[in-house]
Amino acid sequence: MVAIEVKNLTKMFNGFTAVDNISFKVKKGELFGLLGPNGAGKTTTINMLSTLLNPSSGHAKVSGYDIIKEREKVRRSIGIVFQEPALDNRLTGKENLEFHAMLYGMNKKERNRRIKEVLELVGLSDKANVLVGNYSGGMKRRLEIARGFIHRPKVLFLDEPTLGLDAQTRRHIWDYIRKLNKENKITIILTTHYMEEADYLCDRIGIIDHGKIIAMDTPNRLKDKLGGDIIILELEGNADKFMNAINKLKFVNSFKKHDSKLTLMVKKGEKRLPEIISIAQKKGVGIISATLHKPSLENVFLHFTGKTIREKEASQKEKFMEFAKRRFRR
């Protein structure tokens, strides 16, 4: 079963294309991630799918309902945690949840039970009657996540759920998200620009850059697309014969030598490493050290965009600074 179906979805803001003709499907019960740097178009995509923005062109269905023609049905079936806080600071945590539950038409008994349940799940039971204005950032985030699924949505959108939180709180939130997905069978779409987050949580990832989805697959298969694992050998002695032998090996997808360091891309690296070491011994090359690591999503991102996500964000910051400078000079 398909929970979300996106076809050629596009959003333009006065001539600027923020989301560029994207298409993808998310299966029921899947935890799908949109990974991309600042300004990639993640939030704009979520806003269109949650009926807050009208697409410029293209179509999408959420739990079987058209996001343009059946807005109210879409709204009834989704929950959402926005990137920016969206709480009423003058209400208590519990009142915020009550407001939400009533808007979604839950009766009093169900409401009270669910409020208690979700507050417990996110560990805010003892802060229920405190004004949200007095919550910390992490507490607010947890409350928003609780609110997002209190009405038992079929699909939950999480727009950068852990942005700006400390490592410990982030871990906690990851656990809640996992639990919701696995135990409550909620389909989740999450956006993030944290590689570890996408890697740890998502069943499948779409990498989005400049409004386009440039790669989409499971984290492991995305990494496999790079041509296997990364093996780095530190060599001693004349390596020419060894390099010739390596060149002939079919399972080595690519290699690069830099001074005494040899970097190889190898499928099933852990199985091939002993083989490579024994070849080195036969060819009379000493090995000082050998490291093997699986490619990270960082490597994947680099592969598909030609830049690491951090470089991307740095260059965006530069652009902004330049823009600001120009503004202030005037």
Binding site: T51, K73, L87, D88, R90, L91, F99, M102, G105
Partner: protein
Amino acid sequence: MINAIAIYVLWLREMKRFVRAKSRVIGTLAMPIFFLAFLGMGLGNINIPSMAKDVEYIHFLVPGIVGMTMLFTSMFAGMSVLWDKEFGFLKEIMVAPVNRVSIVIGRIIGGATTSIFQGILILGISILMGFKIVSIPAFFSSIVFMLLISSTFIGLGLIFASKMKDIQGFGMITNFVIFPLFFLSGALYPLENLPVWIRYISYLDPLTYGVDGLRGVLIGVSSFPVLLNFAILVGFSSIMVFLGAYFFEKSESV
């Protein structure tokens, strides 16, 4: 399809916020109270000419200040959408499975409740200062007028809020819309004393009929018949509520 629960929830939220925002309420009420106190004391016993009967200024002033309170509190209530936008809460409301008409009705009923409450508060303070209402039914009729004034300006506030991106323009609206509406309405002086061309402009101001109607019911003296004021205000408030709902529906919340 009207969603009664949604209307109730939005109203309830308005009530809770109102009760918790005492300092803001005091801030909003300070101005009408100052007008009432200083103009009332300074000019209190001067008789107002060019009214049908001669009326003491304090009696002339009080309905005007009640009208002023309704104007300010209602415009702010309508424009409070902008604050919700600023704090992101508008998205939470807009993404809920509730039709836009119910959201607008909830806002208007919530805003009208707090506005009328403040209007009655001002009326109570005036009574302490020596103002006399002609009869008990007159008090209830004045609430009907307060409701009409309030819904008119909440509607207008919604129109402005829907056309603005953020709260930057708030001061502009206060200075270039709310204050002119206030001065043109004849809340402080009889319109008969203004040059003719300004008087014609003031006939376009809904508050003119609100203040005159309040005078008619509260002190029994008015420029137009009370029923005419009532009918014109019903027209204004229907149009404003409709337009407010229309523009709110059209506006994007992100």
